[in-house]
Amino acid sequence: METIYQAHINLSRFLSADGQALQALPSWTETPETLVRYYRNMVLARQLDNKIIALQRTGQMGTYASLLGAEAIEIVLGDLMQTSDVLVPYYRNHALQMLRGLSLADMLSYWGGDERGNAAPAMGEDFPNAVPIATQALHATGVATAIKIRGEKRAVVTVCGDGATSKGDFLEALNIAGVWQLPVIFMVNNNQWAISVPRALQCAAPTLAQKAIGAGIRGEQVDGNDVIALHQSISRALQHAREGKGPTLIEAISYRLSDHTTADDATRYRRHDELKSAWEREPIKRLQTFLHQQGWWDEEQESAWQTETRQMIQQGIDQYLQQSDQPVEQLIDFLYAELPDALKPQRERLIRNAQPGGNHHE
């Protein structure tokens, strides 16, 4: 037996669960600017999340996938990605999408069952949410291929969950990213659950990051509740991508502090003590402690920011609730670039049916 290949997986973390530095911190953390911005955005994301769940509970919103517990991943990605980069998201990236320019009202529209939420010009070249699990990973490699063919210095970021790493799409995407050395980052939000299926039943490997090894690409684990660790890993990966040095798989260890969606009830399958202990590691409290210690954030700032965000969110919600209905013909008009003759009678029927006296008038 001759050992012909060796590999290892590293874990990166800087802040302990109670906000203490575990090792020398990078120099950018010596000034408050970035960390405070991260903190404020995470608080905003969490408030927003609460608020949308409330909307859903009162019948003003469809089934919603909470991002509770994923705030750090979302916010750091959103901060470090440039406008010219491309995001190919999944359904738990709305805070990240908002940092990339999506308005709150448009975001709510999407979750409120209105396709126009995906149409905002502010989304640029970003993809809409992928609902079929892991499919987005392949779209990201396609976008990255286009970028590589054109020789541009842009990175593509795609996000998925731990469950998604079991699906062929994800694994085929890692492979092609490796062969073609594509400028893409696979961010796995390993929140330990895929609906009711725990991480241990998804994969026998001790880390998901090591799926990179089979594709011959860089893979690493990072504490997904630690904005400093995330910042380091993500900036490095983005830089690699933009410089043509190839793809990275980042497994961010987080925890889904919420139900899977508002249609789910996690108490059916998840022990309360597991959830409780996860709350002790959550990202916002951890950074808050650190900022307090540094004297960069205090109670007063906190309550001012809470008020400010509440107002911002309320504005977005008001806008969302006031949106007019989608013209019914849009159900057909955007299917093809030009309306085919074959669809004209159906379009007429759709419109007629929606009018007063029509079969579908409400």
Partner: protein, 327 residues
């Protein structure tokens, strides 16, 4: 044991019943274990039958299908759940190239007694990809059976039949009526026939043909028409492949008029096969053109607009009335 149950409870009852009397029945899929399935169709099975017979799988539909083929070839009877029909497409290579062909390919040496259960259809205000009706894609595949119940009792009896059937069955569950109209269903272990249409109501004026959740609106339309003195014959096709054209031909030979109702987009759907066959084999019986009341040839919209997409009772009445007026 007698029970007033909804359709999803009837499905659960059938699974339990068959698992008790046949050890080779194995449940697998995403969230089918502790969680009992996102619609609770497999609830309590893990407690009763344990981890060896109720398998929570990783998130990979191709794998679920391929695994089932392998298990079935070994003589087990895997009953796999695909969470929503919008996520069934990764299974197609295994369904088309293997499940549907294993017996044929080996001239009977191996066969594939698997069932793939999948909730389908719109109307529950679900997110994108949770509301499609793509039964036509499976009805076109030689070697597959495609079965769709439309009541708790039929769900119970047909699911038993599907599990016992030695051929691969795609069992599509119209989730809009999962919890509508509970019915008394006796846990008798009695299967219902596959391969034949079910005539739900006899009538001489017009034949209404449908399946799945649209049976609800079809029966509503038939009720309203009955009040106006129009007697509809209502046929629930139930098994879309292999399809029983004879029952439908006989009905239209009697009524001379026919409306076909389904949720799926119109073009190249199962309604086309039925309409074509009725006209090809019964042209001289037709006293009016057949009409199809269907979803539009466009993507199923997000939930806000789904009611504009889904056919409703008024659509059926409109089609029936114009069919009746034709002369």
């Amino acid at each position: 044991m007698s029970n007033t149950v909804t359709m999803v409870e009837a499905i659960n009852l059938a699974l339990k019943s068959e698992m008790r009397q046949d050890d080779s029945v194995i449940i697998l899929g995403e969230d089918v274990g502790v969680n009992g399935g996102v619609f609770r169709a497999t609830v309590d099975l893990k407690d009763e039958f344990g981890l060896k017979r109720v398998l929570d799988t990783p998130l990979a539909e191709t794998m679920i299908a391929g695994l089932s083929v392998g298990m079935a070839a070994q003589g087990l009877k895997p009953v796999a759940e695909i969470q929503f029909m919008g996520f069934i497409f990764p299974t197609m290579e295994h369904l088309i190239c293997h499940a549907a062909r294993l017996r044929h390919r080996t001239r009977g040496r191996l066969h594939c007694p698997m069932v793939l259960r999948v909730p389908f259809g719109g109307g529950i205000h679900a997110p994108e990809h949770h509301s499609e009706s793509t039964e036509a894609l499976f009805a076109h595949i030689p070697g597959l059976r495609v079965v769709i119940p439309s009541s708790p009792a039929r769900a119970y009896g047909l699911l038993l039949a599907a599990i016992r059937n030695p051929d691969p069955v795609v069992f599509m569950e119209p989730k809009r009526i999962y919890r509508l109209n509970a019915q008394t269903v006796e846990d008798t272990g009695k299967a219902l026939p596959l391969d034949s249409c079910y005539t739900l109501r006899e009538g001489s004026d017009i034949t209404l043909i449908s399946w799945g959740a649209m049976i609800k609106e079809t029966l509503e339309a038939a009720d309203q028409l009955a009040e106006q003195g129009v007697q509809c014959e209502v046929i629930d096709v139930v098994t879309l492949n292999p399809i029983d054209h004879e029952t439908m031909l006989a009905s239209v030979a009697k009524t001379g008029r026919c409306v076909i109702i389904h949720e799926a987009p119109k073009s190249c759907a199962v309604g086309a096969e039925i309409s074509a066959t009725l006209a090809e084999r019964g042209l001289l019986n037709l006293r009016a053109p057949i009409q199809r009341v269907t979803g539009y040839d466009t993507v199923m919209p997000y939930y806000r607009m789904e009611n504009h997409y889904l056919p409703n009772t008024a659509d059926i009445l409109e089609a029936v009335n114009s069919t009746l007026e034709f002369s």
